[in-house]
């Protein structure tokens, strides 16, 4: 019995690059052993800085990118080894929302044509769904004959959400879907995501770099650092009482309204680290044990997992 819409297990991605003509093979581990579940009707936030591997995880979860190792299970079905042909049949269950609203809609098609594409793939002839979905994302139905160039960023993002919804997916993967939007429009689209979860029972993997934005939409939040998922917890737990020093540092660094600049975090005693915890070189709580291995994600509280050896730490949150 599995209630998760999406569950990924030990997902890894390693890029192999040969440096130079006869150089040594260099491995870049973009994602390491990431595991999480997205429950039905749940929004799981995935937050991390650039290069943390959060986008790679999203693409691998959708099987738009092949994982080096690990498993992707969609609604109880293991789709890790599905061929492209077999994948096509299950693709509609999960849809992707992109960051750049100007690139996500085909500039040479009308909105009508763009929104018909998902219906045609589902074998539906009527336009009834289009009208209903446009209403759902807050767009008026008289825009069907326009082209994407005539819309603002926020409107295009609504349209790409509408296109995704027309596939009747169980899961949306929103990859930095509101990062390119101005704050007021961003708030509107954030509200739309929450609304869709509430009204349609949609599950969403919400990927972003802004803690506050990810926090405000998500039921649970996972934090990634250099390819490793270092902490996962219910949003309020994670923000109030982070258990991984990186999460704490991220929370401290985020600027806040009416608050002074946070102080510089104390530097680590050791600057070298290889093979140990990914965060050790920047961690002010590092011990020699941290250099020995990368700890696995483990239960540190109710529905709260952290990948830090020093489970006794009392870290301050918001």
């Amino acid at each position: 019995m599995n209630t998760a819409v999406l569950s990924v297990r030990d997902l890894s991605k390693t890029y192999v690059q040969r440096s130079g003509l006869f150089g040594a093979v260099k491995e870049t581990r973009a994602v390491r052993n990431v595991s999480f579940d997205v429950g039905r009707g749940e929004i799981l936030g995935l937050v991390g800085e650039s290069g943390s591997g959060k986008t790679t995880v999203g693409r691998m979860a959708m099987r738009l990118l092949d994982a080096t190792s690990g498993q992707v299970v969609l609604s109880g079905t293991d789709i890790t080894t599905y061929s492209q042909a077999r994948l096509r049949a299950v693709r509609r269950k999960m849809q992707l929302i992109f960051q750049d609203p100007s690139a996500s809609l085909n500039p040479r098609q009308t909105i009508h044509r763009i929104l018909r594409t998902p219906l045609a793939l589902r074998g539906i002839d009527s336009d009834q769904d289009i009208l209903e979905t446009l209403a759902l994302v807050g767009m008026s139905p008289d825009i069907l004959n326009r082209t994407p160039a005539m819309f603002s960023g926020g409107q295009r993002q609504r349209l790409s959400i509408a296109r995704a919804l027309l596939m009747q997916p169980e899961l949306l993967v929103a990859d930095e879907a509101v990062s390119a939007l101005d704050v007021c429009v961003q708030a509107q689209v954030v509200n739309l995501f929450v609304d869709l979860r509430d009204r349609l029972g949609l599950s969403i993997l919400f990927i972003g770099h802004d803690l506050a934005v990810v926090g405000v939409v998500s039921d649970r939040v996972g934090v990634m650092y250099r390819g490793v998922l270092v902490e996962v917890a219910r949003t309020a737990d994670l923000f109030r009482r982070p258990r991984h020093p990186y999460t704490a540092q991220l929370l401290a660094a985020a600027p806040r309204h009416g608050a002074p600049l946070p102080p510089e975090p104390a530097p680590s005693q050791f600057s070298q680290a290889s093979g140990g915890c990914v965060f050790a070189p920047l961690c002010s709580h590092m011990t020699s044990e941290c250099l020995s291995r990368q700890p696995d994600l483990s239960e540190v509280g109710p529905a709260h997992q952290s990948a830090c050896l020093r489970t006794e730490l009392q870290l301050s949150g918001v």
Binding site: A89, F98, N106, T117
Partner: protein
């Protein structure tokens, strides 16, 4: 609804740099197509009593040549051949180039590797040498000329199609359709092709200009269209002999070539701007 034709045409005509070639190109095609029937002299009509007439002489608007043939008729008749060579070879090479380019752009891997490296390498060779060698050893005629010009022209189109396909394929809107479970055919023909078509149309227009020019080189050097058939190139073939006494025999057909090639090049340039107006604002 792929390329919005009326708006492209409107933008083309809005600027003299677009308007002039847009009007010229169909005009010259129609003139060369109908010309011989409109004129009083057949292009092969020899009149030894009226040789080397200067322009406007005795009813000959552009004069007569060394055996008294009407130059205007020969220019129009030559235009039929030159334009035919330009248009047909471009049509074939665009078709080949686009197909090869899309295949190489869409499928990463060995096919792309082979096609791109071969194209890059071939483009390095001096084309006219190859062209002339082929023309010299093969049986001369329109078909041969069209064939060898096609042979050296399709790579340029293929390169454009390849790089455009790669760019478009990476766009989010294509990924979105892939994520919906669309098949290769749908992705290629409905999402990618309409978006690379403008670049290919532009490339084809520039290719017509190049093909006309190449034909004129080969025919001028005597390996192309053979007299008494006329082409814009071979009209100049022996004009150099009469350069001192009767310069118009060299200047007029040459000027027509230049004008036409300039117009096709201008049209290609203007089309590029008209199809993608954001380019011009830079």
């Amino acid at each position: 609804m792929t390329v919005q034709l009326p708006s492209v045409l409107r933008r083309l005509l809005a600027h003299p740099r677009g308007m002039v070639p847009t009007l010229y190109v169909p005009t010259i095609i129609v003139l060369c197509g109908l010309g011989p029937w409109l004129l009083p002299f057949g292009e092969l009509h020899v009149d030894l009593y009226h040789r080397f007439l200067p322009p406007l002489g005795n009813g000959h608007l552009l004069g007569t040549d060394e055996i008294g043939r009407d130059v205007l008729s020969r220019v129009l008749m030559g235009g039929r051949v030159s334009l035919l060579v330009g248009l047909v070879s471009t049509a074939i090479s665009t078709l080949i180039g686009t197909t090869v380019g899309i295949v190489a752009g869409y499928h990463a891997g060995l096919a792309r590797f082979l096609i791109t490296t071969v194209i890059d390498a071939v483009l390095c060779f001096p084309v006219v040498f190859l062209l002339l060698t082929l023309a010299a050893v093969l049986h001369p005629g329109i078909g041969t000329i069209i064939g060898i010009i096609t042979l050296v022209s399709w790579m340029e189109v293929a390169r454009v199609a390849q790089s455009q396909t790669r760019i478009v394929r990476r766009q989010d809107y294509v990924t979105a359709v892939v994520a919906m479970g669309a098949g290769d055919a749908q992705v290629l023909f409905r999402e990618i092709l309409p978006n690379i078509l403008p670049a290919i149309i532009v490339s084809a227009t520039l290719n017509i200009a190049r093909a006309i020019l190449l034909e004129s080189y080969v025919s001028y050097l005597g390996y192309g269209i053979q007299p008494p058939d006329a082409s814009w190139g071979n009209l100049l073939n022996n004009a150099q002999e009469y350069l001192e006494s009767d310069p118009w025999l060299a200047i007029i057909p040459g000027a027509v070539i230049v004008l036409t090639v300039v117009m096709f090049n201008l049209l290609g340039d203007a089309l590029r701007d008209a199809i993608d107006p954001s380019r011009r604002s830079s």
